[in-house]
């Protein structure tokens, strides 16, 4: 298993959630998402009920991965910002700290300039939080004690039960 497994704890999750709520408000966006580079949704803010968030997360990550592939072909390290303009809605996608993807969906009540500005601010805060998560998870791993690990007492029977 890769050492880069992402483990999210309550405390950091709350901080991330706060940042997203703030960004959502400040940009006047419809929805704000945070997705990890492998396509797993981490958190969201705004009205997500009508959106298939799981698919959106996976496709966004695919989008970033493909763009990253193009970047390397051209000798660039990464293109960190993607912007798609639609008739009504627009989507701003940015890569944060090489690790997570921040997605902002907005319409004419906001503007690209505002989104870019606020995303930049939020990115800095999010990078710090994710650095904390990485070091915390590394530390707990070496000390070998994850609080209430869901795997501590998992049995073969538990796994079999999933498929009944």
């Amino acid at each position: 298993m890769s050492s880069s497994d992402l483990v999210m704890y309550e405390e950091e999750f709350r901080k991330i959630d706060e940042e997203l709520q703030k960004l959502h408000q400040q940009t006047n966006a419809m929805v704000v998402f945070l997705v990890d580079k492998n396509g797993q949704l981490i958190a969201s803010a705004g009205e997500t009920r009508d959106i298939d968030t799981t698919s959106l997360a996976s496709l966004t990550a695919g989008n970033i991965a493909a763009t990253g592939g193009i970047a390397r072909l051209l000798g660039e390290k990464e293109f960190t910002i993607l912007f798609h303009e639609g008739e009504k809605d627009n989507i701003h996608i940015s890569l944060i700290g090489q690790r997570v993807i921040l997605v902002v969906i907005f319409d004419k009540r906001s503007s690209l300039g505002l989104v870019r500005l606020r995303v930049k601010k939020a990115s800095e805060a999010l990078v710090t939080i994710f650095n904390d998560i990485a070091s915390k998870s590394e530390q707990e791993k070496t000390e070998g004690k994850l609080d209430e690990s869901p795997f501590a007492e998992i049995s073969d029977e538990d796994i079999d039960n999933l498929f009944r």
Binding site: Q40, S55, A65, P150, F151, I154, L162
Partner: protein
Amino acid sequence: MSFINYSSREINCKIVYYGPGLCGKTTNLQYVFKKTNPDQKGKLISLATETERTLFFDFLPLALGDIKGFKIRFHLYTVPGQVFYAASRKLILKGVDGVVFVADSQIERMEANIESLDDLRINLNDQGYDLDKLPYTVQYNKRDLPNVAPVENMNKLLNPGNVPFFEGVAVTGPGVFETLKNIAKQVLTELKKHY
């Protein structure tokens, strides 16, 4: 790379179906999609060409149930099988937790199987993984066709490490869930070792 979220009490894992073009990777996902309860699955996303060849990937999120209060979710992906989509194929392997190699059992496709398996090893290495250390299952698909190679021969050629293997007919279902169940179990067992 699995994602363990203590806040929403979820565990997300990524499984990739790999194999040569037209071996039945997408068909595996379509069958799983068809036979799963609506409350357990999300949409099946297919980024395919007009002729239904996978262009980038197929994606199916599955919720399997709970273990110790944690929701277990698997994200199933396929890669585009055709040789010239090599660059996209490599991208899908990022963050993989388990691999299913779907082999085409028809004798004339043996070379394509071998080539695809080599390609899998190389692409995994590029991403820093070793196939021999990953949860890994093999499926010999299309067993209903007349011109298939004997499983023994396929094992010798494609499965020297003797990992779990299943005979499948993805179109009608045999072997599909057996394969999925096996890889899911391996992934969870592997996670258990680390946490």
